[in-house]
């Protein structure tokens, strides 16, 4: 990940440009709520809602206590009526552990995402708006943190913190945020830089608006999609990192999804074919991540309509579309219902550099 952000940094959304999701006929909604209703966004939101629900009600609907031991068998038992997802090496119920683990994962991911995004907005916008020496220093800091490999750094931090402190979800989220803020800061800085000299910002400056007011009411609203993608990106990063740290046995591994994989690996579950032990937690992490990536793609397409795929293959039906040079089809759902051709094709100059 982190690839393909150059469009964000370079092209960026044109402020005030009509977002393609806004239907001309419908009553105008609140600006913040005008989310594009693409398949990716809807699927991503649906999956994410499912996982959040899981995190909230999981601990209450679990059939057993996650650390209670059951049958007296020497090996993990495959799924059965009593244990829907089988048992672990020490005969604990996998399904209960899975249900309980969701809360920790979502909690750490959201808290870490909020902290890191807040830091990246403050640092990125400050650097981009102030410019000069402040910009040089802050950009340098962000780039250093981007280049340094995060996992080994996290391992030393968490390692020195010790088992007792690192069981605290806030501490883990904070440590993850320390290594996760830089990407968002860089993208936000680039976009702030391009917004800073737009006419409407200049006029606000000439009128004599205060600096913080210009940032809060002229710059920040136009950064919303980028703040959203960088939030989703950091949440995704926190999901992967928390899972990795738990998989290493570094953070209190009990009943988190990464921790389940840690124990499965300790008992060589993958060598002995106890798939019911390692597939459910791994799949849960992967699907939670997929929901976030889908949302991120959706917002990317909102920012840059040329990235869209939906409708090109299936919905255009018999009229198969062959994109030619310099003709990137831009799909506009409203146009489809209105005119019936399905696809509005624009020349480079028209669809591209708005």
């Amino acid at each position: 990940m982190g690839i393909g952000t150059d469009q964000l940094a370079g092209g960026g959304p044109a402020p005030g440009a009509e977002p393609p999701g806004a239907a001309p006929g419908r009553p105008r909604r609140n600006r913040a709520l005008r989310l594009p209703r693409s398949g990716k966004i809807l699927t991503g939101l649906g999956m994410l809602a499912f996982f959040i629900l899981w995190a909230i009600i999981g601990p209450f609907v679990r059939p057993y206590s996650p650390d209670a031991t059951f049958a007296n068998a020497p090996v993990p038992l495959p799924p059965s009526g009593a244990h829907w997802l089988g048992t672990t090496q020490v005969q604990q119920d996998v399904f209960s552990q899975l249900l309980v683990g969701g809360g920790r994962m979502i909690g750490v991911a959201l808290i870490g995402g909020v902290i890191a995004t807040a830091a990246s907005v403050v640092i990125g916008v400050t650097a981009g708006y102030l410019g000069g020496l402040a910009d040089d220093l802050l950009s340098m800091l962000a780039n250093v943190f981007l280049v340094m490999p995060a996992l080994p750094l996290l391992i030393i931090m968490v390692g020195f913190l010790g088992q007792s402190t690192s069981g605290n979800l806030f501490v883990i989220a904070l440590v993850i945020a320390v290594t996760g803020w830089a990407w968002g800061a860089r993208v936000l800085r680039a976009q702030t830089l391009s917004l800073r000299n737009r006419d409407y910002v200049d006029s606000a400056r000439i009128i004599g608006e205060r600096r913080w007011r210009i940032i809060a009411s002229e710059i920040l609203p136009n950064l919303t999609p980028i703040v959203a993608t960088s939030f989703l990106f950091t949440v995704l990063y926190a999901v992967g990192t928390y899972a990795a740290l738990a998989f290493l046995g570094l953070v209190n591994p009990n009943w988190s999804w990464g921790g389940m994989l840690f124990y499965a690996q300790l008992s060589n579950a993958e060598l002995t074919g106890y798939w019911w032990w390692f597939i459910p937690p791994g799949l849960a992490i992967a699907l939670l991540g997929t929901s976030l990536v889908l949302l991120n793609f959706g917002i990317d397409e909102f920012i840059n309509p040329r990235l869209r795929t939906a409708g090109l293959t299936r919905k255009s039906g018999r009229r198969r579309l062959r994109p030619e040079f310099a003709l990137t089809p831009v799909i506009r759902p409203e146009v489809r219902t209105g005119i019936g051709t399905g696809i509005a094709t624009g020349l480079a100059t028209e669809g591209g550099r708005r």
Binding site: G4, T5, G159, T165, A244, F247, E270, I279, N304, P329
Partner: protein, 326 residues
């Protein structure tokens, strides 16, 4: 060459920051690391000299000023003296790392290269054939982009090593001794490397595919591509012109990606019990072997910086505009 010089300066700063963090983290974080090591390693005999050396390394029970400790730390780092590894029979950290590093460098280096080439080509194709069946790859790619490397490693072991029995599930080679370099030995090593490398390639190619596709879509709208097509150049040549320019952001975002890939690869090694730095790392974590953790952090950071520097050279080679600047 000014571009390269500037990047070189930046990497030097990053290296200094990394070394400073390595120095500061044990001293900033509350708790006594030496006590933690001693409590974990019960039954092992620690000589007073060993304990004194560890006290000095982590800055506990010392009267020296922070600055004196810092300069001392630098002196150690420059002499490749990273202390002793508690979990490996008090061997120096540098020799423990030296034994493990080649495995990781070989595996991760080759896998990253394959994944970059493969992912970029697929990404360009997906962008070019936009609207064809290739678009159906994207949801699959999304899943692989989100799945943790180590989970994919679990699946690979379960499916290809255990159920199908195509590849060995564990280790880097069969014999523990280092035999003469022969064809059987080499083929054995390759045989053991296929599954871990495949895992890393599958997991990391997703990022390159999406990145290349997105940039390629933008590049195909450029005027020079239109002109190339209008001149009647063969389709292949036109794709080549577009792809050559679209690859630049992929090369420059190498810096972001390589850190992720290395982190994922370390976790992959653990699943495969591959005797590289990842396995070393997890054992060091289990035994509170802080000196080894610090040494590995520095080595990986330097390796990543070096990979970035190479990517920068490639970028200058690929993009004449950067050369013009100088």
């Amino acid at each position: 060459m000014r571009a390269i010089a500037r990047r070189l300066g930046f990497y030097l700063v990053t290296a200094v920051v990394a070394i400073s963090l390595d120095f500061l983290i044990p001293r900033l974080i509350p708790g006594n690391p030496v006590d933690a090591i001693l409590s974990k390693a019960q039954g092992q005999q620690f000589s007073p000299a060993t304990i004194a050396a560890m006290d000095e390394q982590f800055g506990v029970n010392t009267k020296a000023s922070l600055w004196a400790q810092y300069t001392h730390f630098w002196n150690d780092v420059l002499h490749f003296n990273f202390g002793i590894s508690v979990s490996n029979g008090f061997e120096p950290v540098s020799s423990v790392i030296r034994a493990a590093a080649p495995w990781t460098l070989g595996l991760v280096g080759v896998a990253t290269l394959i994944s970059f080439v493969f992912g970029t080509v697929i990404g360009a194709l997906v962008a070019w054939r936009r609207g064809s069946w290739l678009d159906n790859l994207l949801p699959v790619v999304t899943f692989f982009q989100a799945a943790p490397y180590f989970f994919l490693a679990f699946l690979a072991v379960d499916l290809f090593a255990i159920k199908l029995g195509w590849f060995p599930a564990e280790g880097a080679h069969q014999n523990l001794d280092f035999p003469a370099v022969s064809w059987t030995y080499i083929s054995d090593v390759l045989d053991h490397a296929v599954l871990p490398a495949l895992t890393i390639v599958v997991a990391s190619a997703a990022g390159w595919i999406v990145g290349m596709r997105n940039v390629m879509l933008t590049t195909m709208d450029e005027d020079y591509v239109l002109i190339a097509a209008a001149k009647g150049l063969p389709r292949r040549r036109v794709i080549w012109y577009a792809a050559r320019n679209a690859i630049l952001p992929s090369v420059s975002s190498f810096a972001l990606a390589i850190g992720f890939i290395v982190s994922g690869a370390l976790l992959t090694e653990i699943v495969f019990s591959y005797p590289g730095l990842g396995l070393l790392l997890v054992n060091a974590v289990a035994d509170n072997d802080y000196a080894l953790l610090q040494g590995i952090f520095l080595l990986i950071t330097f390796a990543v910086l070096l990979a970035n520097l190479i990517a920068d050279f490639v970028y200058v080679f690929l993009d004449p505009r950067i050369r013009q600047e100088a």
